[in-house]
């Protein structure tokens, strides 16, 4: 038995290393391909002198500072507002059934890729959009030609809005998956009972007692959200201003510039983009500290409420806002995808047709299959590696002397956390180009392999972050009891932990699928377009002239991951309800000590 368990332990070590390598090697190789040109070294165009010239040229641009500021303000503002919204929703509804209903309400925007979500908002908010139609009563009216707020405005309000709409569901999902862990759940219930019995309102209990338990567990995913918000390309491209645009958009533009010497500028800007992300993180850490200090004062103040009315109002506003957006989006997208002519200001199209769906489905069958194969392979790999690596953390601490175990854990943990954040910190367009360069040198025909690697770099962190919380918080007494009953670590892993974690595992898998489905640049750059996915087709359609085809593609982009999440929520309940496990144990293992 010992040999067997050691074998399993070695497998988990291997998985951990493989995970580290898969996360770091592609990104670091890509980074080399960015940092060198940033300092003026790019032999392909005859640039060999290492200097700071490129940075000097970048900062000499009139609007460099404005672009950096726009990236920072939109990213930071949206993340902070999204946190406020998500936490106030949790505070108001965390003890009620409303939460599970909210998850349903939010799911469309959770699964919609960023580009698709932006297109949907554009459909709703433009002067000829659905909301304008609802409030135009003159049937001969033509759409307003005045400037619209939230679209292309200088402050980037449209970007902020779209980011918030995407972020709130994600933060909520992360928080709920932490709060559903048995240990945390117990703690929360305990705190709640104490707080309420001392006369604190449930909202103030949440902010004073529960959030301090919850926050450290979702801090990493939150920072990932923040980094994405300051460096993403899709949303500012579709909704943002271009006088100037955000820095990330400029990076993309310079990388795609026909004048290849602009690659140098693009690389320097990509390096600056990493700095912008770092500043944003610093800013949030500062705000955390201020809030922690304020929080201590509010503990001592003894006040039994916590801006309850304001937060309730905010929550209602957020819920109502989502209800309107989701209903409007669904109505609009579905109708547009089947609409004949639909003149303004009519609320309904003049007729229906399947023409657009015919065009899309004719063209999209192969991309859909590619998307599913790729997403399935990538998510499955990520899931297996992440589970084994997490198990390795547990086994690692058992297999070492107690004093050494701690430092092993913290060192390995720190290394892993850095690795996890690498792909989320470096703008994709930058390191992916470097990656393509290296992929061209080695194995240039293995297109599926390259795109698989490019996707795994993005999928792995999310699968890890989403699963780690649940895994690390799994009540270790289950495993201890099983082991004391003679089960080997591998049996504990397979028959105790995996079934107990069925819910989070399925959610992580579905998340992996959704992340893989939504990748545009990694797919396009790694395959050179040889493998088309739903998202590459959708972005091409979004750059095209037909709103109707765009609508159909957005629907496909939403439906694919949604099916994944629905299965993830539904299947564990069917397969692994605790009662069934109990019955199974009774019927199939009459001799609990039979084990090894």
């Amino acid at each position: 038995m010992i040999g067997y368990s050691n074998y399993f332990y070695r497998v988990t070590i291997l998985a951990r290393w493989l995970l580290l390598i898969l996360l770091t090697v592609p990104v670091l190789a890509g980074v080399v391909g960015v940092v060198l040109p940033a300092f003026g070294y790019f032999p392909a165009i005859g640039a060999n002198a290492v200097s700071m010239d490129v940075f000097a040229r970048l900062f000499a641009l009139d609007d460099a500072a404005e672009m950096i500021a726009l990236s920072l303000t939109t990213g930071a503002a949206s993340t902070l507002i999204a946190c406020l919204c998500a936490f106030s929703l949790l505070a108001v509804f965390y003890r009620t059934r409303v939460l599970s209903w909210l998850q349903g309400l939010f799911s469309p925007f959770l699964v919609l890729p960023h580009a698709a979500a932006s297109i949907s908002l554009l459909f709703l908010l433009s002067p000829s959009g659905f909301f304008a139609r609802l409030f135009t009563f003159d049937s001969d009216a033509i759409p307003s030609s005045s400037q619209s707020y939230f679209l292309f405005d200088e402050l980037g309000l449209g970007i902020v809005l779209a980011l918030i709409v995407k972020e709130v569901p994600f933060i909520l999902l992360m928080a709920l998956s932490v709060m559903s862990q048995p240990l945390i759940k117990e703690k929360i219930n305990g705190y709640f009972n104490v707080g309420v019995s001392l006369g604190y309102s449930s909202i103030s209990v949440f902010f004073k007692l529960i959030l301090p338990v919850l926050y450290p567990q979702i801090r990493l995913p939150l920072l990932a959200v923040l980094v994405f918000a300051v460096s993403n390309v899709e949303i500012p491209l579709i909704l943002g201003p271009n006088n100037p645009s955000t820095l990330a958009v400029a990076v993309l533009h310079w990388f795609n510039h026909i004048d290849l010497s602009m690659r140098l500028m693009a690389s320097a800007a990509a390096v600056v983009q990493v700095g912008v992300a770092a500043v944003a993180i610093g800013l949030v850490i500062l705000i955390e500290n201020i809030l922690a200090w304020l929080g201590e004062r509010s503990w001592l103040s003894g006040k039994r409420t916590f801006g309850d009315d304001g937060l309730k109002l905010l929550s209602l506003f957020v819920v109502a806002g989502y209800a309107v957006l989701v209903a409007g989006t669904l109505f609009n997208l579905v109708l547009f995808s089947v609409a004949q002519h639909w003149p303004f200001p009519q609320v309904l199209p003049s007729g229906l047709t399947v023409l657009h769906w015919q065009s899309v489905l004719e063209a999209a069958l192969e991309p859909i299959i590619n998307t599913l194969i790729l997403g399935g392979m990538v998510s499955l790999t990520a899931l297996v590696l992440v589970l084994l690596a997490l198990e390795n953390e547990v086994l690692g601490s058992f297999n070492r002397a107690p004093d050494k175990a701690h430092s092993y854990q913290s060192n390995a943990g720190a290394l892993l956390n850095i690795a996890l954040f690498l792909p989320l910190l470096v703008p994709g367009v930058a390191f992916l180009y470097g990656l393509v360069w290296f992929q061209q040198i080695a194995l240039k025909n293995a297109v599926w392999f390259h795109v698989y690697i490019a996707h795994i770099v993005y999928v792995m962190p999310y699968v890890f972050l989403s699963l780690a919380i649940a895994y690390r918080k799994l009540d270790s007494r289950y495993a201890m009891v099983a082991q004391s009953l003679g089960k080997s670590p591998i049996r504990v892993f397979l028959s105790i932990k995996l079934p107990l974690l069925a819910g989070p595992i399925m959610v992580a898998f579905a998340l992996g699928l959704a992340i893989s489905f939504s990748q545009y640049l990694p797919t396009l750059l790694a395959t050179g377009g040889a493998i088309s996915t739903v998202t590459t087709e959708a972005v091409a359609a979004a750059s095209g002239s037909s709103m109707r085809l765009s609508a159909a593609y957005v629907i496909i982009q939403a439906v694919l991951p949604l099916v994944g999440f629905l299965l993830a929520w539904w299947l564990p309940g069917v397969l692994f309800t605790p009662r069934k496990v109990q019955i199974n144990n009774k019927t199939t293992s009459p001799q609990p000590f039979r084990g090894s």
């Binding site: 100037p244 645009s245 393509v436 040198i441 750059l525 377009g529 750059s543 095209g544 709103m547």
Partner: protein, 369 residues
């Protein structure tokens, strides 16, 4: 076999699907249309391959290009030279007597790319909007200014990094400088540029505050223009493919009240091409595909409004009676361009003007990304 081509038009995409079926059944060639959002993505890729030493097994075989993308590929040696003379049907374009077939924006093609289709700039508008706003159709550059001033926010043009955007700037530049139009057909010089810009800036300075979003925001892609005319946010726009307009009406993407016309003071015109990359592993198959693209059958199908409506590059004088008959379909869609009217055409300026005008524009109005 991979053909890398912009994938934003349903008509072009379905035409290429038909091409793929044809070459598969005729020659057993499997043709894949790689849909690009931006053609320069593919140019970058071929360059990356060259930088990495991939000289014989590239991922791009054929690429749909013209103008700057061609100039960049030519400059970096990314295309095969003189391959078009191996294409039987290339002779049907009558290249000896038709320099437009071997000149891409003033740049000699040196046999690196085969002509595929041609286009000239047309304008289109919402008839009901103009009636409601009590406006007449602007027929020249000066009437366009009056239109913009009387109906602020109802017209715009894309950023000059977009093909149609820079084309609009060129149209304005040429139309306002007709007395010295010979300047445009030689490589640009600082003095030539300074001769044509005063009139151009005066015009654009006056036009911009009357554009959509007050000229603060310029759309990134030409296709957005068609969307916004379709949704009614714009009342007037322009395009390089006259035939895409009636076919967009047929597909419900543009409303029924759309009318198409050409400016009476001249329309910018050019040819678009198919290039063969230096590191294609399937050169023989690629040539067979290009030969098919230049066949009277494929060209006639492409010219049909219901399909794509892209004008043929074949010279009718080189075709047999039966082949000519393929092209003579009657087209009378209310939204289509009236082809019986003769139009004055401006040839594309020398390719060096594109960069010069764009840079000057960006210096004056700010680079838009």
């Amino acid at each position: 076999m991979r053909l890398h081509a912009w994938g934003g038009s349903a008509q072009v995409n379905s035409y290429l699907q038909w091409v793929a079926q044809q070459v598969e059944s005729k020659y057993g060639i499997r043709l894949q249309h790689v849909k690009l959002a931006d053609t320069s993505d593919a140019v970058s890729r071929v360059l990356a391959e060259k930088a990495a030493g991939n000289n014989s097994n590239g991922s791009v075989d054929l690429i749909w290009i013209n103008g700057e993308n061609f100039a960049a590929m030519k400059k970096h040696g990314l295309l095969v030279q003189n391959w078009v003379n191996d294409i039987d049907n290339f002779a049907l374009t009558n290249p000896e007597d038709n320099p437009a077939m071997i000149t891409d924006f003033g740049e000699p093609t040196e046999g690196m790319e085969a002509p595929w289709g041609k286009a000239s700039m047309v304008f289109y508008y919402r008839k009901t909007h103009l009636e409601k706003l009590n406006l007449t159709v602007p027929k020249n550059i000066h009437e366009l200014m009056q239109f913009a001033q009387q109906a602020p926010g109802r017209f715009t043009y894309p950023v000059p990094t977009d093909y149609l955007g820079i084309s609009f700037v060129k149209y304005v530049a040429i139309a306002l400088n007709q007395a010295q139009s010979e300047l445009f057909y030689a490589p640009v010089t600082p003095s030539a540029l300074s001769q044509i810009t005063p009139a151009l800036w005066q015009y654009l300075d006056q036009l911009h505050p009357n554009l959509w979003q007050k000229g603060e925001y310029f759309v990134r892609q030409a296709s957005k223009l068609q969307r916004m005319v379709g949704s009614g946010e714009l009342s007037l726009a322009f395009s390089f493919t006259a035939a895409e307009i009636p076919s967009a009406v047929e597909r419900f993407d543009l409303p029924l009240d759309i009318r198409t016309y050409s400016m009476s003071d001249g329309s910018l015109a050019n040819v678009h091409f198919i290039g063969l990359t230096f590191n294609s592993a399937n050169k023989a198959e690629a040539k067979a595909v290009v030969n098919f693209l230049l066949s009277p059958e494929a060209q006639a199908k492409k010219q049909r409004v219901q399909v794509w409506g892209d004008d043929t590059v074949l010279a009718m004088s080189k075709l047999s009676q039966a082949e000519q008959a393929l092209f003579s379909t009657t087209q009378s869609h209310p939204s289509a361009l009236d082809k019986t009217q003769s139009t004055l055409l401006f040839a594309e300026p020398h390719t060096s003007w594109t960069d010069a005008l764009r840079q000057a524009w960006e210096e004056r109005y700010g680079a838009r990304y």
